[in-house]
Amino acid sequence: MTREMTGAKMVVQALKDQGVEVIFGYPGGAVLPIYDEIFLQNDIRHILVRHEQAAVHAAEGYARSTGKPGVALVTSGPGATNAVTGLTDALMDSIPIIVLTGQVPTFMIGTDAFQEADTIGITRPCTKHNWLVKETDKLSQTIHEAFHVATSGRPGPVVIDIPKDVQFATGRYADRAHHVSRYQPRKKGDPDAIMVLVKMMETAKKPIFYTGGGVINSGPAASELLRELVDATGFPITSTLMGLGAYPASGKHWLGMLGMHGLYEANMSMHDCDLMINIGARFDDRITGRIDAFSPRSRKAHIDIDPSSINKVIRVDVGIVGDVAHVLQDLLDVWKSRGRVTDRKGLSGWWDEIAEWKKIDCLKFKNSGKTIKPQHAVQRLEALTKGRDRYITTEVGQHQMWAAQYLNFEDPNRWMTSGGLGTMGYGFPASVGVQLAHPDALVINVAGEASWLMNMQELGTVAQYRLPVKQFILNNERLGMVRQWQELLHGERYSQSWSEALPDFVKLAEAFGIKGIICKDPADLDDAIMEMINHPGPVVFDCLVEKHENCFPMIPSGKPHNEMLLGEADTQGVIGSQGAVLV
């Protein structure tokens, strides 16, 4: 059945057909017809953000916390260019989002019209795919295809650029049900390769699962299967920043996060293992440290839906291209059918080694009765929110690493952080998206004051929609991670890394009609956190913490996993000139 309607109406109709309940956006000249259609209906809720970057991050937060694609709507020119950071963020972290951009009318494209930008050209390298729709007849099928591309295979952001005359013109609407796409990435892994991996697992003495965001992106079934596999084999498991929650932090095989600021036992296990099974991670440089000294004695297997991830950075012995859930199901079936064999004696010795590393207690820190240590603040936040229906977003920097280290995640989709791109300003708008998706949940953005200021205009959004997000700001009046690197690498010359002229965060919140809390005494911390949790509306929590705390443990850049800095040891000169050029 075909229906005639305007392009603007098609946009709204297609979003409805795709099951979209909420979109994040900001109007402008080139999207007015679409906004008119939004005005005329009540099925899709539009959330007015205060900056287009925030619309995209909010869509990301929505997507990461639900597993469904997030949608943003922005105008042409500056609207589209402001979306670029969010698109790149979503591309790096493989988050399915659909960004609709307005464009000047087709007959004005190329004339340097008002608010014209080459959106397709600009966003080509920061999207999985993008489309300029020049005919209204093709608009609805393009939107359906965009949802398909964004959510199939390795997920990612897509852009649909819609000229204003295409929105006004009338065309035929194509139903979603009739949409057929050529784009069908492979889901099932190669059975021969899976067999090879099973045989490796049967004989491994020091195996480790190294899992990433791919497990979460694959869906809840993948996390279930991962848990079954880990618990059935008894192999230790570590995860990247992106993969936290796929295996529960309370699980007995959990080693904690790995990587540059990962746990000592996780990194040492990666270095000394004899079989590394990478599931949905991508050997990012935050994980590998020095490539030529990365896990030198192990055989490596890599399960990834993206063929280009395999052998990109680290050469592996077995590459399995497929969706994590499908591959894990097949892997489990084969392993079980062959008698659930593992080298129990080898494994027992391996766990003994790991137990020794755990004794180091790498997350210990010197607490203080006078100033709030940031680690302590996150620990208390964990203790006081444990067991609640809790979602955490973060900004980027030291606080992000402390949140990853000291918060425990029992389930997937509960942890939203900018991993690949490292976007300061991500967490606040992301928390908006998460709260929209989970209205009754406790949504906390663990932030640093500098990151948080980058998108603080979203206080307006939060106030308007009464979103009870909690902004938990670890305020050290510094760009903490920059300061740490300047201390380690640049002779303690703290160039531009302090936060001068900070606002009074309580008054800032109050100016938007939002509750503000300030806390600087460790003795008051628990009460203040409880006050934040119990307040029914949004809260800006200004937690004044120790200003010069460094984030440990740390693999200095250019060093292998087994050369971690554990803490307050003398850190001068640990990073050589070769390491210093790395980021």
Partner: protein, 188 residues
């Protein structure tokens, strides 16, 4: 080959991947990329090469199937075997890319390039240019009293060689199409 004897660095069992991907030797490969003929698809392919720092030595593109909206991009690139594998995988994940064939890895391919040479001159040089063109089986497609335009097809090496010979004889301008290539045999 038994399943367990997978060579280090291989991603499948095909003979295709049996070459040593650990080599640091720079290889020249010809890739055939069949794409959906839609606006911007060439920019996507080129953007991939510039964005990820890969080389393009030659690139040709034209529609090959009007009904099916297919174009074929032939790219000559160079890199270590590891880089070549990455290029192939990265090309493969561009949404409007239908097929990627590494014609060099698949065995010998037929490669041809077409070039036009404008050579000016009088007297002996002009006669010599015409004589050499004949040896190279180049056709004269335009002539004035003071110039020729030669059309030549062949491998890139042959065209390079012809260019070297024409240079001292009064070479004015060159236009080359870049490489078009097909695998040998009865399959793709």
């Amino acid at each position: 080959m038994s399943a367990l004897n997978i060579k280090k660095g291989s991603t499948s069992h095909s003979a295709y991947n049996l070459r040593d991907t650990h080599s640091d030797k720079i290889e020249r490969h010809t890739l055939a990329v069949v794409v959906e003929n839609e606006p911007g698809v060439l920019a996507r392919v080129i953007g991939l090469f510039s964005g990820r720092g890969y080389n393009i030595e030659s690139l040709t593109v034209a529609e090959i199937d009007h009904e099916g909206h297919r174009s074929r991009i032939t790219i000559v690139t160079s890199g270590t075997p590891h880089v070549i594998d990455q290029i192939e995988a990265q090309l493969g994940r561009i949404v409007p890319v239908h097929e990627v064939h590494d014609l060099t890895a698949a065995g010998s391919a037929v490669e041809r390039e077409l070039a036009l040479f404008k050579v000016g001159g009088k007297g002996d040089a002009r006669v010599e240019a015409l004589r050499l063109a004949d040896i190279f089986r180049a056709n004269v497609v335009d002539s004035t009293l003071e110039s020729f335009v030669f059309e030549i097809t062949g491998t890139s090496d042959k065209i390079d060689a012809f260019a070297e010979l024409m240079r001292p004889l009064g070479l004015i301008d060159v236009a080359r199409t870049g490489v078009a290539a097909l695998s040998r045999g009865a399959y793709k």
